[in-house]
Symmetry: C2
Subunit: 616 residues, 2 copies
Amino acid sequence: MKNNNFISFEQVNLENGFWKDRYELNKKVSVDNVRKRFESSGRFDAMRFNFLKNGRKPHVFFDSDVAKWMEAVAYLITKNPEEMKENEKLCEELIDCMEKAQRDDGYLNSFHQQISPEEIFQNRDHHELYCAGHLIEAAIAYSKATGRDKFLHIMERYCDCIYRVFISEKTAAFVTPGHEEIELALIKLYRYTNNEKYLEMARFFLINRGKTDEPHLFENSRCAQDDADIYNLHEANGHCVRALYLYSGIADLARETNDEALLTNLKDVFHDIIYKKMYITGGVGSTHCTESFTVPYDLPNMNAYSESCCAIAMIMFATRMREIDDSAEYGHIIERVLYNSLLSSTSIDGKSFFYVNPLELALEEYGREVAVPESLREHLPITQRLEVFDCSCCPPNINRFFGNFGNIICLEEKSGVTVEQYINAEITGHFGKIKINGNYFLDGKVEISSNNCTAKVLAVRIPEWCTEFNAETAGTSAEFVKKNGYAYFTIENEFCIMLDFHIKPQFISANPNIRADAGRVALTYGPIVYCLEGVDNGDRLNRIEVDISDLNAAKFEMDFHSMYSISMPAYRLKDDERLYCNAEETEYAPITAKFIPYYSFANRGKSDMLVWVRKH
Amino acid sequence: MKNNNFISFEQVNLENGFWKDRYELNKKVSVDNVRKRFESSGRFDAMRFNFLKNGRKPHVFFDSDVAKWMEAVAYLITKNPEEMKENEKLCEELIDCMEKAQRDDGYLNSFHQQISPEEIFQNRDHHELYCAGHLIEAAIAYSKATGRDKFLHIMERYCDCIYRVFISEKTAAFVTPGHEEIELALIKLYRYTNNEKYLEMARFFLINRGKTDEPHLFENSRCAQDDADIYNLHEANGHCVRALYLYSGIADLARETNDEALLTNLKDVFHDIIYKKMYITGGVGSTHCTESFTVPYDLPNMNAYSESCCAIAMIMFATRMREIDDSAEYGHIIERVLYNSLLSSTSIDGKSFFYVNPLELALEEYGREVAVPESLREHLPITQRLEVFDCSCCPPNINRFFGNFGNIICLEEKSGVTVEQYINAEITGHFGKIKINGNYFLDGKVEISSNNCTAKVLAVRIPEWCTEFNAETAGTSAEFVKKNGYAYFTIENEFCIMLDFHIKPQFISANPNIRADAGRVALTYGPIVYCLEGVDNGDRLNRIEVDISDLNAAKFEMDFHSMYSISMPAYRLKDDERLYCNAEETEYAPITAKFIPYYSFANRGKSDMLVWVRKH
């Protein structure tokens, strides 16, 4: 098993351009917007153990929302201490409240202590261990960022309590958490403190999963990831976020215990996702019912779930896998998620968020089930990003994702340095410094350089979408060896290599088994998936057909979303009063279809949207 | 307003061939199978007012199930008295039970009298008036068939009770029924008895609809047909069966009161259905949620509702419209329903029935929402017809539909005689006799003849699907005038005209606004819609593409379903491990695709099925 490390965000300085802008937007707009929402919705008051002030009864997972926001702030403090002064003050206040509220036995949960103490560790679906996991992650980040350990100690005391209840005394009404998360948090805590007790706890929650007949919310155990123990796991199943947090935790355990059997299973699971259950946008989750993986190739577009938290969790899983397994496919998937389902989660102005990220909107069909109660209604996606939503797991998750943005770019390996993502940054490692610079997603060109690098080998991931690739150094062709999806260069202490990935628009077909995409194609340009939007093309986008050979006439334009829009000739079916007619009578009008990056849809008012366009 | 009459089934003798076989199958198999089911499920015991014997608590609409079956038996008695002896005996027994059980005030309902007398006429959704309507229809049919009026008098006494409660005393908790049906039944009763009180009652229930703020089961009044009064009705909305029974009742009222305003509205409603809300199979109902019409062009295939009762109700509505409006479109629609969504309701062996008639089955996707309770699950159609189902409105409705089969064929008009449906039969009218004979749906040829006909004009409907048409008489071309979708022939007392509708297979496109059918075509042959089935073509039918120009190579074969199957060259997408790939890399294998009539799907075990096939 490999034992590599992505270089942590602390050693990554994002530089000019798209991703730096996204980092700044999160810091300057999104984090504060979420703070305001959490204040007004009583989430902070709940954590102040004073929920009555707001009057709103806490939800069972309010603590995790607050924890993720605090974790985001902690990351941001590291590099932006001045800008985070106010947020740090709030964190300190909340930590003091937690300290005061923590029970003598170490227990800490704002919902159960204030609302239903009699249910403490009695209901597996009450998210207590999930909340604890997020608080642990926040406490570690806060300790690292500030050097102050009060929060960390609170969580260590809470861990002692959890150890006692679940492992020593076994007095909880369940064995493993209903919503996974604490497993990966405990291993993070083990790594940070070197206290092996936390590794033991993580292992306990992981190896006992699927072994007992545990109570769960869902109708079947598959949905709760209780159908197989981790040594019999080969498919991705059930609630997607829970599943991906579980797999991330298993990857951590595999690494810490050098367990090859677990790694083998995780590869099966990863392949099950990327070969059978993933949207072209990198999103996962094919149904709102239990927010789940379903059966292979079931990838409906309008009713896609593709939760924003899944995008983040998928990157978490893939990052861990790349550290223990030497394959380019993890980087391919991280890139796919990053530029599409992850980016789409947030509005261009940084203020509002999608919970689900559908691949099609057809507004005229939204009324179709208004006649039944919400609970019985087929799920239809929200058409616009919202500043506030009740189940607010995604916004603070996005805050923390961008808070430590950078730790997916570069991998430090024994043999040298590997560039996984072409994000403009200066990166410091044991090898010295390297610099990544270019307009990767516009012209496919990236310069990688250093004037002080001790590594002898530079590996760069050749993107999945790239069919032609060359490299230059000092004006002449640079030599490299291709292997397993990477190009390997021998480098000097000082070097400058210009990579050229020959970017061009492509029409993509889906696997013939995907019913929803039959007869359709999706436009991509490098890593970016495109879509049609009604605001550019008129609504009822299924009336538009594209001829894939017309792509040669594509025209590019820099647009509101900081990437190219692509226009090309297309056909629109002419209006017909008849519901059905002879297929030979079908008439088309020539039009120009304008495609925009998928992630930027729904930023200009309500409108239809379509990723998979009919093939002419 | 026209005032024509379809010639009633009593004067229609079905002759050799397809439809005669269906009539016989219903009489010999289906009616008895439903009887057995109703006996074992306690429906008859409920009507014996002895539900405890079976032990099963009656449902609020058990009475209507029994009534429809009795109505079917009554129709069958007319022409097959010997074969119906046993069933007639059961009807007599049930009528005696009803007579005994009927309250002194005339009230009669097996559910409310036995289970919840305190709720009598207190809950609009309890289907009391719906049950009464079906009992009235059954009583009329039984009186006509047997000449015995005990049942009819029972229902007249019940009508008196209803009149008192709803019109005189207004003591019911609602004004109009939750499920329409009694309106058209009361007008039938008025026509049979000439008692104007029943017309007044029908008018009361019709004109008060949508005028008051009535309680209803559904979340909105549109779904309950309460959003508009009948003088403001222009669209088809809400629960489809209820809607179509309502529109049929309005058509009856329009005719009886010569109300042109109502006719104008009904034409709008009819056009709203056939131009915007009807499946190619003639089915209606786009969602299982409240079994409803939804928004224009929302016609999902796998989740189609297209209830069997809707097929029958659509024919009821169209038949009434044709009697008061001189247009071929009613006959077109009756034909479309008849050969497709109506026929598909029953298995080839006559024993089992579909409640919903989907246009696509993809078995591998059926597990997709197993993790949630049934009530929260997206509806997925049953893949096989069933002998028994709980909500058993359709099977006895099919029994009665075929029981009086024949009264949609021929219209007696002042000017002459009009043939609407090409069903082999000898028909007797005031004009004398005519005979229809041929293999309409196989070779497009029909002979219409008489050796004793006083009518001077014969009109024949030119089918919607027919683009070329000629006629011959005595070996030479017969002259006719085309008008409004009909061909008019001048006839002698003795005549024989051979119609040739130039039948051929056609690929049909759906209106560009129908999202679900984008990029797809459906194969038809004359009135018959075809489908692919997995048992012939392998499952995952969305992997198959057809080139519409390959239709010239189509081959015909007489198959198990008494009509042609059609085979033609097609393409099947080759397997690919990748989930997404460049569209130019898509590979196809040449195959032969075998299409069978839609109505005959799911008669050879579980299998995928697809009507709208991808266009190559």
